[in-house]
């Protein structure tokens, strides 16, 4: 059971989060300008390292913020976590 540091709420149990996968694939600004190969690479090819991995999680049972987490896929150690951008105030 992972313990993930939510930058907004503090350390929380894994069960409060949902996984969002590789954090290193921002959506292209203009998909129409991409070739089929480039679009496919963005859509289907992800980082899959045996080691440290930057990934997205959503604190879905908490503040519902999407956060970045650097986690080791061999040891599950959470190296760091961060807010993706300053929280908007409503």
């Amino acid at each position: 059971m992972l313990l993930i540091q939510c930058p907004f709420c503090g350390p929380r149990d894994q069960v409060e989060f949902s996984y969002g996968g590789d954090a290193g694939v921002p959506r292209p600004a203009d998909p129409a300008a991409l070739s089929d190969d480039k679009w496919n690479a963005w859509l289907n090819e992800r980082d899959n390292p045996a080691g440290e991995h930057d990934e997205l999680w959503q604190h879905s049972m908490g503040c519902r913020r999407w956060i970045g987490v650097r986690r080791n896929t061999l040891s599950h150690e959470v190296v760091s976590s961060w807010a993706l951008q300053p929280a908007k105030t409503a």
Binding site: M1, N40, N44, E45, R46, A50, H53
Partner: protein, 417 residues
Amino acid sequence: MKYSIFSLARNAVSFHRDWPLAWRSPAPKSHYDVVIIGGGGHGLATAYYLAKEHGITNVAVLEKHRIGGGNTGCDTTIVRSNYYLTANARFYEHSLRLWEGLSQDLDFNVMFRPRGVLNLAHTHADLENQARRGNAMRLNGIDALALNRPEVASMVPDLDMSPTARHPILGGLLQPRGGTARHDAVVWGYARGADSRGVDIIHDCEVTGIRRDGNRVLGVETTQGFIGAGKVGIAAASHSSVVAGMAGLRLPIESHGLQAMVSEPVKPMLDAVVTSDAVFCCVSQSDKGELVIDGNVDGYNSYAQRGNLPVLERVVGAAVALFPSFSRLRLLRLRGGVMDMSMDGSPIIAKTALDNFYVNCGWCYGGFKATPGSGWCFAHTIAQDRPHELNAAFTLDRYTLGRAIDERGAGPTPWLH
């Protein structure tokens, strides 16, 4: 030595002192016609069929640790071909047919037993999906039967058939020819078969690099030195991304942890393999008497081969909900496997952008049952430098082309397949 009751009796007289080695442990040669990376079931089967079907015997299987030590060793060993999409159905059916003759073919009892794989339906939508799948299977020449509630109840008496259950059981789809086999026996059988045809199985030989000249692969760097190769095939399961990365390729694969749960052995009480997609749970009883249970992937990238409590609780909760009398049985072992989850839930057995480099990966949950078919098709693809009709759809470029084989319809989110 041919294995039989007679050889067993002959050896009994000699106190079993004269059994030959099941396979050799040779040092690697400097060059092979084909090098297969990965000594699990798929890699060994590929080598076996390269030798047997294509006469290519100058083959090495390189294994980082020991053969069969990866996912083959922690699988729930279920064999079935109950797929809806035609590309999957025909491939897995071919594999199932190979299973049915595998013990004789390998002269090694892989203990395949068609005990029936029963998929439970809990809602009308499940029933309709199962009907569609069962009908597609039948039209593809695969056995399938729709069971109603009483038929499910009589086939698996321990199920909670209460109509007021949280997920009441309305019926099921049965593939009678589906079943289970022994995971280690499959590995050993293929290893012995490949070895006896001249294939070198190299243990403790980790691939550390892939030497390329332009679009051609020259061979592999390993912890036992450079090994030249006419062709190189990857059958490295969850480590496919890592190995392909050495050749500069990115694969549409993510590695995710999946746990199998094994109970203490009890007297036989559950014959069929029972699965439920609604609660994500699959339960069977091994020949030794252990219950073998698995469910969903843990849900995040992992190479750790270790289980995870939330999924364990969920899957066991589901198993106990389905089988309330199993609650007092005890979990003996957790096995943590790492699944190579593809972007559409279907496998890849394909040529790559490099001339003489081939990949076999993306098995998701389906790797064990695919072992014979995967090896058979991969051997064909490597030997002929083109896919067989059965794996023609399992290409790498299907994602680019928009021809994904998405059995679950979950889209490019690998941990949802």
